[in-house]
Amino acid sequence: MPAAESAPPAIELRHIDKRFGTVHANRDVSMSIARGSITGIVGENGAGKSTLMSILYGFYEADSGEILVNGKPAAINSAHDALRLGIGMVHQHFVLIDPFTILENVMLGAEGGALLRRGKASAKQELERLEREYGLGVDPDAVVGTLPVGAQQRVEILKALYRGAGILILDEPTGVLTPQETDQLFRILKTLRARGSTVILITHKLREIMAVTDEVYVMRGGAVVAHRRTAKTDAGELAELMVGRKVRLEIEKGPAKPGAERLVVEDLTLHDARGVTVLDHVSFAARGGEIVGIAGVSGNGQSELLEVLAGIRAADAGRIVVDGVEITPSQPRDPARMRDLGVAHIPEDRHRLGLVVSFEATESALLGYQHDEAYAGAVLQRHGAINRHCAALMDEFDVRPRQPFLRSASFSGGNQQKLIVARELARAPKVLLVGQPTRGVDIGAIEFIHRQLVEHRDAGCAVLLVSVELDEIMALADRILVMCDGRIVGEVARSDADERVLGLMMANARGADGIAASA
């Protein structure tokens, strides 16, 4: 593209270097991002992508190096500077004010005068114009907190566009979206590119890079390790570059050999504190030796289902049978007694339910089993046994660093998760409840954890896997149940499932056929 080469790049980073204490977050990073392009930056967690973008957006200051915006050296010391230079950012966790309307959220920081009235009128006009131009599909007067996640993300994009951002950075934008919402986002990004905007897409999902970007930078260990034109690379090469070695995106596993029914759930119903039905007559069975995947957009009852099955909360109606033992709402069991039945639980939110971040690894590796005779004396804990137990788990599950007395918070996300997986799998459970096992976990650890799940399946354990990552469900599950609005809206054998079918089922409880017909 000769035209692009004559114009200065929208963003040029030269030799950016940044350290946090002993962590070298960015090493001599140089990038050149062409105007009117979509550029992807991929890398594992901790590869330095987010740090780099925070430097570009003025959250951090680089220790050394230079940033050029549209060919001119720029000093970006605050978000304010970035905005002034036309750089907008859509954060991974939205920074929106829930009780505000879209209009108020968009206006914040660009109110157009000390009084709101006039600014509101002109902002509304501008929003309507942007709406026509980009087709974002949002109503300016809607309260942000009531919107679905996909719409909230579009509000973030709107915020940036409203401020005249010609350069848009999106940090892991698709983690919370349905496949359909993701498609819509990509359409918007392509419209932006067509109108001359520059888009930087940070992600660890290679499929998205392949689907939408023009160029891609691969980061590893804080440094740029490769720069490719997307058309001239493929997901396999990028994955290899990301982790620095060959990884299998597929998991090798033999066919499932389902045995007896280990977990049976019948008509399980749960209402939340406001009386809203979160679980609506959920029924299914899981056999030993199979992995049952539960797919669904987050917030459709999967979390609550796991909590009920793990004994964290009691259902309002229905029954659960674990290996012949019946649990009803009139006789609920707490998590400790569920564990006694051989039900292990790897919770979705490891910081809230999985471990205590301020505890040492030895203590986190013990949670839930602290009353075992092996570890608990009459009064005091048996520290020797506890420490040996933790050290053994760390060895077996490759938890790094191997420091049993390190605070749990000091481990990376992947290693925290491995510690929890180790703890729960150590007892050879009959039923394994797994929620988002690889959320925020790097590729190496994902592979390891997936292999563990398959091994336990083959050992005869019934595995119930809840994940919002379709890739993960498709890679692991032998049968897939889809949840929407607290109900199981469909069941597909792995061999019949593809993302389109699952996506349509996830998005619509009733009329999956209707959508399929109209699409």
Binding site: D81, I97, L108
Partner: protein, 324 residues
């Protein structure tokens, strides 16, 4: 009948006078808390202002100088709270409690050292105080039946600071809802990161909110010592800062409902004063202590039972640490 009407009017008039410091305190707290800075130090700031106003006025015999001293002192206290909780990211409740304790002791110590009257300040002459303002034609209109007394006793007959307090309510409502500052104030109390990423300084915004809070508690304290009373008495704020805070929560951090709550608490207080020594049929004379405790007891009951779910500004009490 005539008598009952007059009693009712006088009780309502007393309600307004008693509510004044509550209203000022609640509006002060509203600015601070909507910005995400919890302020349990309203009480201390009011007390400090009361002492400063009375002391300055005792020396100069000029009420306005008293007011200026009251506001300046209270703003200083607010800045200490701001420095601790915004710049140093300390615990806001601890900082507020510290201010309350500091002021409770310091006013007495300085009072004894400067005025040698056991911690009180000398009684002030009228020119050193805010005295009731005569409304135009007050005496003529007062003679008109029914409406006359309303004009003279309910609308009129108050000092300047009462009207200032009443004016702060619509003003606060307007600032919070119709101005750029108000939008940002609400935003920073809900999600400071959103404010930061919009290129607005979180700290400066919160400091302004805290200073506004100081100004209003300054007026409240000044009212206590040199308008409602004629000198400073130790611990004269007597929990009114906390009642104002309760009214603010009761009003769910909104100006008009908080104002309503202040009037309710003020009314209970005014009734309590009027009931003292009155013999209630069937019960006999109600003990003074019981009546005095009534507003507090009712506050607890109202707060516990009738407030519904009060959702505080989401970022309230959490120091803002930049992250990404």
């Amino acid at each position: 009948m005539e008598d009952a009407y007059l009693v009712a009017l006088l009780t309502l008039s007393a309600t307004i006078r008693v509510s004044t410091p509550l209203i000022l305190g609640a509006m002060a707290g509203l600015f601070s808390e909507r910005s995400g800075i919890v302020d349990v130090g309203l009480e201390g700031k009011m007390l400090a202002a009361a002492f400063a106003a009375a002391a300055a006025s005792a020396v100069t015999h000029v009420a306005v100088i008293g007011l200026a001293a009251g506001i300046a002192t209270s703003v200083m206290m607010a800045l200490i709270h701001g420095y601790a909780s915004i710049t140093q990211r300390g615990n806001q409740v601890v900082s507020g409690v510290a201010i309350n304790i500091l002021v409770a002791g310091l006013t007495v110590v300085l009072g004894i050292a400067w005025f040698h009257q056991g911690g009180e300040t000398p009684p002030l002459p009228p020119e050193g105080r805010f005295m009731p303002i005569a409304l135009p034609f007050q005496d003529t209109v007062a003679a008109v039946p029914v409406l006359g007394p309303i004009y003279a006793r309910l609308i009129g007959g108050h000092n300047l600071l009462v009207y200032v307090a009443l004016a702060t309510v619509p003003l606060t409502h307007w600032i919070v809802n119709a101005t750029r500052f108000g939008l940002r104030l609400r935003a920073v109390g809900e999600n400071p990161q959103a404010v930061d990423t919009a290129g607005i300084s979180v700290a400066w915004l919160r400091y302004r909110a805290v200073i506004l809070c100081g100004v209003l508690t300054g007026v409240a304290g000044t009212y206590l010592s040199i308008a409602q009373n004629a000198n400073f008495i130790r611990n004269m704020s007597a929990g009114q800062g906390f009642i104002a805070l309760a009214a603010l929560i009761f009003g769910k951090w909104r100006a008009w409902p908080a104002f309503g709550a202040c009037l309710l608490f003020g009314f209970l207080d005014a009734v309590a004063i009027r009931l003292q020594g009155v013999s209630v049929p069937g019960i006999g004379e109600v003990p003074v202590q019981f009546i005095q405790a009534l507003p507090y007891a009712l506050t607890v009951i109202l707060l516990a039972g009738f407030i519904g779910k009060a959702v505080a500004p989401r970022a309230s009490g959490i120091p803002y640490v930049k992250e990404h």
